[in-house]
């Protein structure tokens, strides 16, 4: 397939691309000027931004096991609609991605779907039980790009030590879900003013920060690559800052909901505001924004966690943790962080493209000649309202329902194909 995109504002801070220009794509690769005038698709992109396709290194697509919440197909559609061209899916499926079979199943499904790129994350331990290491080598060869027991913390420090050491020969990071599960036991929301008011059991910020500290020390000791998932608290930020100042091999991510929301949201007992780690205080939220700006936190990740409405529409403590995020991440952050000037647009793009790609060494996330043709076309002037009926995700558990957001994804280009354009999902013909 040959695509020509004309007159877009090309923006890739990594390669200092910031100009109005044309992009020609042939066989999935960005080429120089087109030799022939016979493009399959010509896009007039004047007035639009063309950025590297967004990269999410933390999503849950629920397949296999919970296909009523999400499938690889529906999750991919949600990704494309949100401007994501690459998604790494977490292994807490049923069965979990703790063997090559499940990893290959996911890869094959993704290829069959021909939508976004999907990379599986394998488990750190068999069955995510925190006891025996998974066959990391086999998982790596089956396409896993990292290891994580996400949803569970590796509570036994001796096991995490060995995971960090063993993964050294693959040079693949260990993604930790930092939560001391004894300190957070039975907790529903952040422990603090709101939990005290509502009488809900709290999850203290130290349940995260104490594991962040432990893991950074383990990373220093083993020299293993540690990536910390969904950081939510100021305490954790200060420890990560220490780790980076000592050149320890640690990276971290933050979600749009932790960057934009606080525990106050829970006052209405809305289970679409219930996730792990929980929304914390304004001071935590501000610290996360600052940490992203200063590079202490490297990247944005959605932690897209679909749950069907019949599971979420329950008494607060019975509803599962997690919110969806792929379809709102870019617009929510653009509207609430970029437009008010908290973060620069270039920084946001880096945190959603190149930086996450680098953490997992994925060959995507930039605009350059000869590079992978994964792009997102943005109309920053248009506004839309987050309406659960319009989600591509099978689940509707978004914390941003009703928000008016600026920034519409006009098209998503993956590997030189055009699977999403103007609200339509396209099958590749050639």
């Amino acid at each position: 397939m040959k695509i020509a995109i004309k007159g877009a504002h090309l923006l890739d801070p990594k390669n200092n691309v910031d100009e109005i220009g044309n992009i020609y794509i042939e066989n999935g690769i960005v080429i120089g000027k087109s030799s022939r005038k016979t493009q399959d698709v010509k896009i007039d992109a004047s007035g639009l931004y063309l950025i590297p396709g967004l990269v999410d290194i933390h999503s849950h697509f629920r397949e296999p096991g919970k296909e009523d919440a999400e499938t690889i197909e529906s999750g991919s559609r949600a990704a494309l609609k949100g401007g994501y061209t690459t998604v790494c899916v977490m292994p807490n499926t049923e069965p979990p991605i703790d063997n090559e079979g499940v990893a290959r199943f996911i890869k094959e499904k993704a290829i069959e779907n021909k939508k976004c790129r999907i990379f599986p994350v394998g488990t750190i331990t068999k069955g995510r039980e925190g006891r025996e290491l998974s066959e990391m080598g086999h998982l790596y060869e089956a396409g896993c790009v990292a290891f994580s027991d996400d949803g569970n913390c590796v509570m036994n420090p001796a096991v995490l030590r060995r995971a960090l050491e063993y993964s050294l020969f693959l040079e693949v990071p260990i993604i930790e879900h930092p939560e001391d599960m004894l300190l957070s036991k039975n907790g529903q929301i952040n422990e603090g003013i709101i939990s005290t008011k509502l009488g809900l059991k709290g999850i203290p910020d130290i349940s995260e920060a104490s594991i962040v500290a432990r893991d950074i020390l383990l990373s220093k000791f083993t020299e293993g690559r540690l990536h910390l998932a969904h950081i939510s608290s100021e305490e954790s930020v200060s420890i990560i800052k220490y780790g980076k100042s000592k050149s320890i091999r640690v990276t971290a991510e933050v979600t749009p909901h932790h960057l934009l929301l606080t525990e106050e949201e829970v006052l209405s007992f809305d289970t679409n505001k219930k996730m792990k780690p929980p929304l914390r205080t304004k001071s935590d939220r501000d610290a996360l924004q600052k940490a992203l700006k200063e590079g202490i936190i490297d990247s944005v990740a959605t932690d897209h966690a679909p749950h069907p409405d019949y599971e979420k529409e329950l008494e607060y403590s019975l509803a599962p943790f997690g919110v969806i995020g792929l379809e709102t991440a870019f617009s929510a952050l653009y509207t609430k962080l970029i437009l008010p000037g908290t973060l620069s647009f270039k920084q946001l793009i880096l945190c959603m493209t190149d930086k996450p790609a680098q953490i997992l060494a994925l060959p995507v996330g930039e605009i350059k000649k000869g590079g992978t043709a994964d792009f997102t076309l943005l109309d920053l002037g248009s506004e839309w309202e987050v309406d659960p009926d319009n989600f591509e995700s099978k689940s509707k558990n978004s914390p941003f329902i009703g928000w008016k957001l600026k920034g519409v994804i006009k098209a998503t280009i993956v590997n030189g194909f055009l699977p999403y354009r103007e609200g339509e999902f396209l099958r590749e013909e050639k």
């Binding site: 603090g192 008494e315 019975l318």
Partner: protein, 311 residues
């Protein structure tokens, strides 16, 4: 009072509390008659949904409903209905389909009454939601206090025991704050929330320090489970430091002090028998106020409907 639901003391204004207490007073007159019944709620249907063991609150509501001639049905289950394969919402929708006017709900999870109130047309009364609120208990305690002292403002009230897990404490503290009383809390540090200072209270960990010059000592029940959760080393140690004994009472407290307890009492644990049965105790008066206050709330929430019907 012009509201659909009664979910917590937090939502009530001082004026609304006053109104509930005023109507409760006239309800009490019904309770003092030889034939204790009024036709006020004839034709109003109340469903009592109790998803947690409770005898006194359920009985108090049932009696209040009967005294006002309401029709009532009870759904009593020891746990949440979801464990039996039906969600709370489905259960409640079924009940509402029976044209129920008021739902009284007791649930172990905070927010369960709010969840129903948001989704149903029926009025919802919170009869206790987890460790969150127990507004009808707090209102009846305010009524008991006012009856005894003819005021609430400026009284010094000490609440003693497991504050962290107590919906009664949360509702009562908010109610007392709104009515201008001075509130003190006392208990072991593990049973007092770390963020207690969001309420207007003085915190003391030492019982003997808090006893002097209080008008009311409000003693809370202590659950044996707290020991397993490593919140208390033993009941023996709790008794040593926090049990309200007759000796402590006489030695440290004012001679005019009043003792209250939401019940059921653990004799010999948080309160010595001799104290519970003493002339200082208002524990049984609290029960009578409970019925009157619940009658008042049932009436105030259906007043609009009753008025519409008679016009």
């Amino acid at each position: 009072m012009n509201r659909k639901d009664l979910l917590g003391i937090e939502d009530l204004s001082k004026e609304e509390i006053e109104e509930i207490l005023k109507v409760a007073k006239s309800m009490e007159e019904i309770l003092e008659r030889p034939i204790k019944i009024a036709p006020t709620l004839r034709g109003i249907t109340v469903a009592n949904l109790f998803f947690e063991p409770s005898t006194r609150t359920l009985n108090s509501f049932t009696l209040a409903e009967k005294r006002l001639s309401a029709d009532s049905i009870n759904l009593v289950s020891s746990s949440s209905s979801v464990l039996k394969g039906e969600t709370l919402l489905d259960t409640a929708k079924n009940i509402q389909a029976m044209e129920v006017d008021i739902i009284v709900i007791r649930h172990s999870i905070p927010g369960a009454p709010h969840f129903l109130a948001e989704r149903l047309d029926a009025s919802v009364i919170n009869a206790g939601d987890g460790a969150h609120e127990h507004p009808t208990q707090a209102l009846s305690d305010l009524m008991t206090i006012r009856k005894k002292f003819s005021k609430i403002k400026d009284l010094k009230v000490a609440i003693v025991g497991d504050i962290e897990h107590s919906r009664v404490a949360r509702s009562l503290i908010i109610g007392l704050n709104k009515m201008g009383a001075k509130v003190f809390v006392c208990g072991p540090p593990t049973l007092i929330p770390k963020w207690m200072d969001i309420f207007d209270v003085t915190i003391k960990y030492n019982l003997e320090e808090i006893l002097p010059d209080k008008d009311i000592l409000y003693i809370l029940r202590v659950q044996k489970e707290r020991q397993e959760e490593s919140l208390l080393p033993s009941m023996r140690e709790y008794i040593k430091y926090y049990s309200l004994t007759y000796e402590r009472l006489r030695k440290f407290a004012s001679s005019k002090v009043i003792i209250m307890h939401p019940g059921p009492i653990n004799r010999g644990i948080e309160i010595e028998s001799r104290v519970a049965d003493s002339e200082y105790s208002l524990i049984l008066d609290q029960v009578i106020s409970g019925v009157a206050v619940r009658m008042s709330i049932l009436y105030l929430l259906s007043r609009k409907k009753i008025d519409e019907n008679s016009n």
